[in-house]
Structure formats: C-alpha cells, structure tokens
C-alpha cells in the first residue's frame, strides 16, 4: 500500500451564535470542498470511492468536534477525521457566555498508487 497524498485543500468556517464547534468545522470543510473542483481519481483511472481523505480540523476545543458529522460532509471517499487545537474564539462584547467560533479544515486526498512501467 503506497498511500500517496495528491491534493491538499483548506477552508475556514464559523459559528456566529450557536457556540457549536462542529457547525464551524462542517462549514470549514464545505468552504474547502466547494472552493475547487478536482478530478484526481479520474486522472489515475480510479473510482471516486477509492479516494482516501484525511481531514484535520483546527479549533479551540478539538474534543467538542463530532467526527461523524464531519465525515457526512463528503460526497465520496474513505474519510478519516481528526481535530487539533487552533482556530480562534472571539468573545461577544456584551455576553460573556457567547462567542464566535472560527475553525479551519485541512483536507488531504490520497490514492493507493503503485508506479507502473509505461
């Protein structure tokens, strides 16, 4: 198995009022996915479902991320989700219990490729 990272896409997403890190992370994934159109599987004669997709979410509370909700954002592929500390939380000026959440998504798309004789 030679897992080869072919494409990296990134996105940023926010939650303005809900306080939901998962919502911000889902929006970050959507921002990443809908910023480009890639046909990487077709380039190698592979199926879209062959793509191995590793998603890393960065937000200020990585434990709050629901990985199943993130995986569901992807139309195809084998999805692995992880979360690390990053992004930013910005306090609401008048309501200390409310914050704006900013999350990042880093998406690496891989295929298992073996070099062939042309």
């Amino acid at each position: 198995m030679t897992k080869t990272v072919l494409v990296f896409e990134r996105g940023t997403g926010t939650a303005l009022r809900s306080g939901s890190y998962t919502k911000a992370a889902c929006r970050a994934v959507q921002n990443a996915l809908w910023h480009n159109s890639i046909n990487i599987a077709e380039l190698f004669g592979a199926q879209k479902s062959d793509m191995m997709i590793d998603v890393e979410i960065a937000c200020q509370d990585p434990n709050a991320i629901d990985v199943d909700d993130i995986a569901v954002e992807f139309p195809y592929g084998q999805i692995t989700v992880s979360a690390v500390q990053g992004g930013l939380d910005i306090a609401h000026p008048d309501m200390p219990e409310r914050k704006t959440i900013i999350a990042h998504a880093a998406i690496k798309v891989s295929l298992d490729l073996i070099a062939q004789e042309a």
Partner: protein
Amino acid sequence: MQRFILEIGSGADLYGRDYTKAALRALDDALRHSSITLFHALNIDHTAMKVRVTIGVQEPDLIDQSAILAAIPRGEPELIVLFGGHNVDTRGDGEKTVVATCAVEALLPNQAAHFKSVSHQNE
C-alpha cells in the same frame, strides 16, 4: 465604544513557514469581504473608529507585530496575537503549511444620540 462588526479571515503560507505572511493574508481576507459604507453615508470620520485585530497562529511569538499593525488601513489599531491558526504537514516530509486565523472587530461610540432610526414596521 460598541462593536458593530466582526470580520473573519484566514490566510496561508503554503511552504515558506512564514507566519507573518500568512497573517497578513488572513487580515486582507478578513477586510475584503465587507465594506462599512456608513462612514461615507453619514460623514463620520474613520478616526472615530477603533479596530481590534486578533491573529491566531501556532507559534504566536514569531509574528512580526509591527508589520500587522502597519497593514491595518484605518481606525485606531489594537493587535492581539494568540495561539490559534493551523499547521499542516501536507506532504508527509515535515514541511509545513502555516494557516493564520484573523478576526477584526470594529468599534464606534453608540450613534443613537446623533441619528434617529425611524421605524417603518406595520405600514
């Protein structure tokens, strides 16, 4: 002073590991998705505005704060640099893409004393 807008942006340096470059791009991204037309419409001077910029990167000590402050185009600037953003090893070889998070808060004194809002509900 009352916050009237929070603008959000992100920026990256793909392989140069330059946090300041990423942060400047994040600031530019934040500023370029909206325009505050009330200054022109109501003849309020930009100098009345306070601008608080928060930058998040994975190594905040490496940010050149004077470069960020110089890039804030108008208003009285304040800069906060925190642990945030995201670093990604995109190629599996230890090289890093650095991503900066930027939040820009703009504040003005409450304007109700200068401008009255006429309600048009239920007309």
